[in-house]
Amino acid sequence: MGDEFATPDRATFFEVNRTRLRAWCWGDEGAPPVVLVHGAYDHGRTWDGFAPRLAALGFHAVAIDVRGHGDSGRLSSGMAWNACTIDLCELARVLAPTPDTPIGMVGHSMGGGQVLTAAATMPERIAWLVNLDGLGPSADDFVDGDILDVATRCLDEIDKFRSLPPRPWASRADLVERRGAINVRLPRPFLEHLVDHGTREVEGGYVWKWDPAFRTGVPDGFSLELILAQYRHVTAPTLVLVSSEEDAWTEVHDEEAERRVALLPHGRLTSVPGAGHYVHVEQPDFVVDRITEFLDEIGARR
C-alpha cells in the first residue's frame, strides 16, 4: 500500500523495566526529549505525521511502541497498566538522566491516561504533558454489570487467547477495511499506514502486531474514582485536547471533561473543533498550534 508519511530519523530499542520498547525517533538527539505514547491497538508509527512537527519545535521526539504493541515486548497477564507506567517512568530517566533535564510526554487515548499516571507517579521528573482525548472511559462505562457474567467472560477470553492463535486476515486491505469500519472518521491514508506498520505476515495472511493478551484481564474493582484520584498528584502543566465530535473510542468531553481537568492542579482544556477521537490526525494544524502556544506559555521550548 502507498505511504505518504515521513520516515522516522532513527529506529531503536530501549531496554527498560525488564522489557524491550521499540522507539521511533525524530529530531536532534541533544534537544529536550518528548515521549509520544499511542493509544490501545495502535503503535509508534501512528505519530509519523505528528512527530516531525513536534521535533521541528525544538524537541527530540521519541515515539514508542507501548509494551504489548508493535515490536515491543510481550505481555503476561493482561494489559499491565502498572508495568506500562513504570516503563514510561524508566524511559524518562533514561532520556533525561538528571533531574534538571526537562522531559515532556504526549499521549493519545489510552496513552493519554498512561502519561497522566506516569506523571502522578514521578511528578519530580516530568515537566509537562499533552493529553489527546485520553481522559479515560465515561462514567457510563463503569456501571457495574453482573459479576458472574463478567468473570465468566473474562476467563473464557483468557482460555480462548491461550488456545487459539490470532485469526489471520487474508490481506492488509482487509485489515484496512476492518479498522476503517470501526474508526470511521480516520482518513484512508492513515488507516493504510496504521496497517502497514501494525501488522505482520503469518501463515494464511496477516495479523495485528499487538499482543492478544492485551485484550484480556480479570475483574479487580477498577473504578472511575481510582482514575480521578491520581489527577491531583499530576503537578506538571497539562494541556488536554478533547474531541468535539462523536466517534468510536471517543472519551469524555464537554462538562465531564471540564470536571476531570479541573482536578489537575495545572490542567487546561481545549476542545478540538471538527475532530473525533484522533484529534491530532483529523485537525493536525489546530492541535500543533495549541501545543506550540502551550509550550511557549510554560517556557518549555528552547
Binding site: R18, S76, A151, L226
Partner: protein, 209 residues
C-alpha cells in the same frame, strides 16, 4: 472425584508444602509454584499482577482436563481464587486469610499504587532481570485487594460453597461481617497458617453433605 487447586500466597516458599499437606485428598492436587516463586520463571515481561495466578490456574485446568475442582486461595491469592469460582471454574472455594483488606478508599488505593510503582523504580533488583532459579524480589510487589465494595459484590454473587479459614495473619478487619455476605459460607479460625492443620480443616469440610 474432586480435584484440588491450591494457589499459595505471594512470597511463600511455593506450592510444595501445600501439595504435601494435602496428600490425603482423594482427587488430584494441583499446587503449582506461582511465577517468580521457588525457581518458577517470572511472568513474560517480568512484571507481576494480581491476575497472574488466574492465568496460571486456567492453563493448568485446561491442560489437566480437570473435572470438578475446589480452589484454595491463600493470602493475596484469595482474590484469584474468588475470580476462578465466580467464573465457573470451581465447585467449592477455600479462602485462607484470603478475603482481602485492609479496606481503603480510592485516594488511599491510588496512593498505595503510586508508592508501589516508586518502590519498584527505586529497587534495582526489581528493575533488572531476575537471577534464574532465585526468588524474584519483585514477585511480592503487587497491590492487593483493598476495595471493600468490590469484596462485598464478589461475596454476594459467589455461586459455590465457601470455607473461610482465618488466622492471626489475616489482613481482613471485619471477617465476620464480610462472611455474612456469602450465600453459603463456613468460618473457621485457627491459630496459625500451618498447611497440615489447614488441610485437616478443609478435608473435614469437603465434600459438603
Amino acid at each position: 472425584m474432586t480435584d484440588l487447586l491450591v494457589l499459595h500466597d505471594l512470597g511463600a516458599p511455593g506450592g510444595g508444602e501445600w501439595a504435601g499437606a494435602f496428600a490425603g485428598w482423594p482427587g488430584r492436587v494441583l499446587a503449582p509454584d506461582l511465577p517468580g516463586h521457588n525457581g518458577a520463571p517470572p511472568p513474560i515481561g517480568g512484571h507481576y499482577e494480581s491476575g497472574d495466578a488466574v492465568y496460571l490456574a486456567l492453563g493448568l485446568l485446561r491442560a489437566g482436563s480437570a473435572g470438578d475442582v475446589v480452589v484454595v486461595g491463600i493470602g493475596h491469592n484469595g482474590a484469584a481464587a474468588q475470580i476462578l469460582a465466580l467464573g465457573g471454574r470451581a465447585v467449592g472455594l477455600v479462602l485462607i486469610d484470603g478475603l482481602g483488606g485492609p479496606w481503603l478508599g480510592p485516594d488511599e488505593i491510588d496512593a498505595r499504587a503510586r508508592e508501589m510503582r516508586r518502590r519498584i523504580l527505586t529497587t534495582p533488583a526489581a528493575m533488572s532481570e531476575p537471577e534464574p532459579g532465585a526468588a524474584d524480589p519483585r514477585a511480592t510487589m503487587v497491590v492487593g485487594a483493598a476495595d471493600r465494595d468490590f469484596a462485598v459484590r464478589q461475596a454476594e454473587a459467589m455461586p459455590v460453597p465457601v470455607l473461610v479459614i482465618e488466622t492471626p495473619s489475616s489482613p481482613t478487619p471485619d471477617t465476620d461481617d464480610l462472611v455474612g455476605y456469602f450465600p453459603r459460607a463456613t468460618l473457621t479460625r485457627t491459630d496459625a497458617r500451618d498447611p497440615h492443620r489447614v488441610a485437616e480443616i478443609v478435608q473435614s469440610w469437603w465434600p459438603i453433605r
